[in-house]
């Protein structure tokens, strides 16, 4: 029963993805796809955060930092020249393994950098390790210690990328190469493969959605939800609550880093604003508007609002809009605006049917 529901959800969403592409094509507004691609990657962060906030009941105010960590790690590794290191014995071995690759730089010179796949893998491992170190002490305690720890962490990461030469200071890292995923599929910002990138971005996002939908409807999902509803009772039922909270948090941080890595390759660079606290709060707001424990709601809301934001509809009030949304949700509809609407719709159809 659950499986068919997931299948139906994903097929409907895939259909919408195709329709949107066809509409932009027919309307001659294919440039909208660029923001739709970016919105897809940002939505992966929201989906992961949804697992931590809506299901495990923990608040992370550092997801922008994890996103930036993924983005910056792969950006730095794929743009820094390792020509000297590649000449040493260990360097030759890494070269043989394909970790180091030679490519031409902008001016036609030879450059030895880390393969995007290897950089991606290293970014994930680094983020997982850091998330573990932050989450381990904070999640052994009950209460909002994770929110405080991640807020502090986010501020530190922002200051580090802003102040460090190797991260390009306030300019960020540019010149991140395209990523040849497989023959015929290149992750990059050139308009010539924009449509392919649109399907790649949405394919990955829907895959993440399916994995998370499976997860929340499983033993693990029930364990996380039981922690949210009553941590003590969950523990008394034999659930290692600290471990489950930590696993969910690390998984979610790695998803954010993966999204950061993919978007960085698409954009060809990353800047310090991606690591800002306002970005973290934006992700929290999007999860809240989506309905907290509603992955589908989170995805839809996040896509729409992020798209509008990226198209500049909120103008100079961009950050303020998300702050206002968060306040409005908390005070007016703590379960998210979709739930009352869904209940109203259900009541309407029942009345009509009866």
């Amino acid at each position: 029963m659950h499986k068919s529901r997931t299948t139906l959800t994903v097929i409907s969403l895939a259909a919408i993805v195709v329709v949107v592409q066809l509409l932009t094509h027919c309307a001659g507004k294919e440039y909208y796809l660029t923001q739709m691609i970016m919105a897809a990657y940002y939505s992966i962060v929201v989906l992961g955060l949804c697992l931590v906030m809506g299901y495990a009941g923990q608040i992370s105010l550092g997801h922008a930092a994890f996103f930036a960590m993924g983005g910056y790690t792969s950006a730095i590794l794929t743009t820094t020249s390792f020509s000297a290191a590649a000449g040493t014995g260990a360097g030759r071995i890494l070269r043989g393994l394909g970790v180091f690759v030679e490519r031409a730089d902008l001016y036609g010179g030879q450059l030895v950098t880390v393969n995007p796949w290897a950089a991606f893998l290293m970014a994930m491992l680094l983020t997982a390790a850091v998330a573990f170190l932050i989450g381990y002490p904070a999640l052994r305690l009950k209460g909002h210690y994770l929110a405080m720890a991640t807020l502090g962490f986010g501020l530190i990461v922002y200051r580090i990328v802003l102040g460090s030469e190797f991260a390009g200071s306030s300019d960020g890292v540019t010149g991140v190469p395209e990523w040849r995923i497989c023959p015929g599929l290149v992750l990059g910002g050139s308009t010539e493969y924009r449509v392919a990138n649109y399907y790649l971005a949405w394919g990955v996002t829907l895959l993440v959605l399916v994995l998370l939908l499976n997860l929340v409807r499983s033993r693990v999902g029930r364990a996380l939800r039981s922690i949210h509803d009553g941590e003590l009772a969950a523990n008394a039922m034999g659930i290692n609550t600290a471990r489950f909270k930590l696993q969910a948090f690390v998984f979610s941080a790695v998803l954010a880093a993966a999204a950061g890595c993919l978007l960085t390759h698409y954009n060809g660079g990353i800047g310090p604003s991606e690591a800002g606290a306002m970005k973290s709060i934006r992700y929290v707001a999007l999860v809240a508007v989506g309905g907290m424990d509603n992955l589908l709601g989170g995805l839809v809301v996040s896509t729409v609002l992020t798209f509008l934001s990226l198209r500049g509809y909120f103008g100079t009030y961009d950050h303020a809009v998300f702050g206002v949304i968060l306040i409005a949700i908390i005070s007016l509809a703590p379960e998210g605006p979709l739930k009352p609407v869904a209940a109203w719709f259900k009541g309407f159809t029942v009345r009509k049917g009866g």
Partner: protein, 258 residues
């Protein structure tokens, strides 16, 4: 050998002595009750046995292994399950899901296999669902399986908690005031349910205020007063114990019960 062996347990809440010199045993297959006036330390004792906090001193052995200081989830894995006096259901989950959480320690699928819905995970999920459904049927809750636990009546919630605790397949079941908040009819049913659980070889440690229920189902009773045991024995003996009568009817001990 006793299933549960509590020796000389003492517990202080920042200076307040809640339990002292508590020594008792629960034998396999028994229904043992702990009674005493409010504030006697009954729930504190339950919380210590189930690992919610460690005793300040003393030893607790279960099947011969020391369990003092273990975390609640570790105690649960040893085979001790419990219900809560004030009910602690997962209110936004369905009744069935609540009981499936009780199957947690008997199952093992993790993040990766669940996210990918591997064949083993699908099989285990089905088995979990069926095992939980059996518990619900036993307690007459099959009809509300898909209802959120938060929308049930108080009496039904007590039964769901019981089903959830039994789903862990415990050797020892701790029931914290299972009759409180139940109506007369539900209370009568409870004695039968306790007898059924016992017939399935589950040992029961019961904290209860309802004396007719306690006298009815218990093999042995331990009486606590101000954190100290004052009597222990079969119901008939405890009922006629002078100290126990004094505690319950007012007398020399009454002023210390707060």
């Amino acid at each position: 050998m006793a299933l549960l062996d509590v020796q000389n347990v003492r517990h202080c809440f920042s200076g307040l002595l809640a339990l002292d010199k508590v020594t008792f045993q629960v034998k396999e297959g028994q229904v043992k009750s702990i009674i005493g006036p409010n504030g006697a330390g009954k729930t504190t004792l339950f919380n210590i046995v189930s690992g919610i906090f460690p005793p300040s001193s003393g030893s607790i052995r279960f099947c011969g292994d020391s369990i003092a200081g273990l975390k609640p989830y570790q105690v649960a894995r040893k085979g001790i399950s419990r219900t809560f006096q004030n009910l602690s259901l997962f209110l936004r989950m369905t009744v069935l899901e609540n009981v499936m959480v009780g199957r947690h320690i008997r199952t093992r699928q993790g993040f990766v296999s669940s996210a990918l819905r591997l064949p083993g995970q699908i099989r285990e999920e089905k088995a979990m669902r069926e095992a939980a459904m059996v518990r619900l049927e036993e307690l007459g809750l099959a009809a509300v399986a898909d209802v959120p636990a938060g929308s049930l009546s108080f009496g039904q919630r007590r039964m769901v908690e019981l089903a959830r605790a039994l789903a862990t397949e415990p050797k020892l079941l701790l029931l914290d005031e299972p009759a409180s908040g139940l109506n007369t009819r539900e209370k009568e049913g409870l004695a039968g349910i306790i007898a059924t659980i016992r017939s399935k070889n589950v040992t029961i440690l019961l904290v209860e205020h309802d004396m007719s229920l306690v006298m009815d189902v218990s093999d042995e009773i331990l009486v606590l007063h101000s954190g100290v045991p004052i009597a222990e024995g079969p119901p008939a003996e405890v009922r006629n114990n002078k100290d126990v009568v004094a505690v319950y009817l007012g007398g020399d001990f009454a002023d210390a019960s707060n």
